[in-house]
Symmetry: C2
Subunit: 194 residues, 2 copies
């Protein structure tokens, strides 16, 4: 059983493919992004991508891993107590989008609208990992509705600031936005029943 053959390589090129895939999926969304463009971005032959990841779907799933771990950040946001939770949540949300991890989120949100696969993926993940944890954290009625309302405000903010790029939101500072939007989130999370 000879342990021979070409050894080094795939670690490097796998990473470069994933990087180019994130860029491309973020810029174009799942459908418009093509394996040929991703391969060109990675300086690689297009056939290498199905070879490593099985299919276009495979490289998408490998590329858009959720860039933050809810099991970590949710307790960290809750730790200082409920007061100011809304503002902290908005600030954390904007910091994540403005960080390098934002490209993964852009790929996800762009793809969610065009691909049922991506929509299902995100809905399952958010329901299980995020809404679940938030539901047990806030000890109030209708936790799913409350968490969903929070999501509407945050998703809308991401859509207009990062996807459509509305000028007034693009040029506003994180602190300013947190000051405006934080209280809305806070109310969705803590306001007693309507």
């Amino acid at each position: 059983m000879p342990r021979t053959g070409r050894r080094p390589g795939p670690a490097r090129t796998r990473e470069r493919i994933l990087g180019a895939a994130r860029t491309q999926f973020g810029r174009e969304g799942y459908d418009k992004a093509t394996l040929r463009e991703i391969a060109a971005g990675a300086g690689v032959d297009p056939a290498l991508i199905p070879h490593y990841f099985g299919s276009k779907e495979g490289v998408f799933l490998a590329a858009v891993e959720f860039p933050v771990d809810p099991a970590l950040f949710i307790p960290r946001l809750l730790e200082p107590g409920v007061e100011g939770l809304g503002e902290r949540l908005v600030t954390f949300f904007l910091e994540t989008w403005d960080s390098p991890a934002g490209s993964s989120l852009l790929a996800l949100i762009r793809s969610v609208v065009s691909s049922d696969l991506a929509a299902e993926l995100l809905r399952e993940f958010v329901t299980r990992e995020v809404l679940g944890r938030l539901a047990v954290a806030i000890q109030l009625d209708q936790p799913q509705l409350r968490a969903s309302l929070v999501a509407t405000q945050l998703v809308g903010l991401a859509m207009l600031r990062y996807v459509i790029k509305v000028e007034a939101l693009k040029s506003a500072s994180r602190e300013e936005l947190a000051g405006w939007i934080g209280p809305s989130i806070q109310r969705y999370l803590t306001e007693p029943v309507v």
Copy 2:
């Protein structure tokens, strides 16, 4: 100069093509929708569409006309005064989406994310027709930022309720949602400077 030849027809089939186009663009978005599927939905040969509307872009522009006229509904919403404006706005927004006109909006929001053409179209229209009118209506500082914040909340609501179809939002009543979200909108519009 003989006025002869086949006369009736196009009015009917033009309408049927536009209807099928709205359905298809709403279900698939601009990119995924195909002329062949639209034609099949209208019971018509695919070549008729470029023939009547010039191109795929042409039938899209003809199909997704904004289904409500801001010049009409904005004064109507403002007329009872500023108190309760937030709730009225949310209610009107949801009524429009739940009406037959909602399919045009779905086509628009689905397409905005995949097509630069649609994004540019919507951004220009909203900036000019909606934000402008709202800005003069509310006599406060930073009218564009305020109107954009309103838009984030409404767009996010539409995304999660009608595009991703999150259960908690899909099954909530219009009144319930207006009760939760209305105050946020109200604050964005009328809260004195932060």
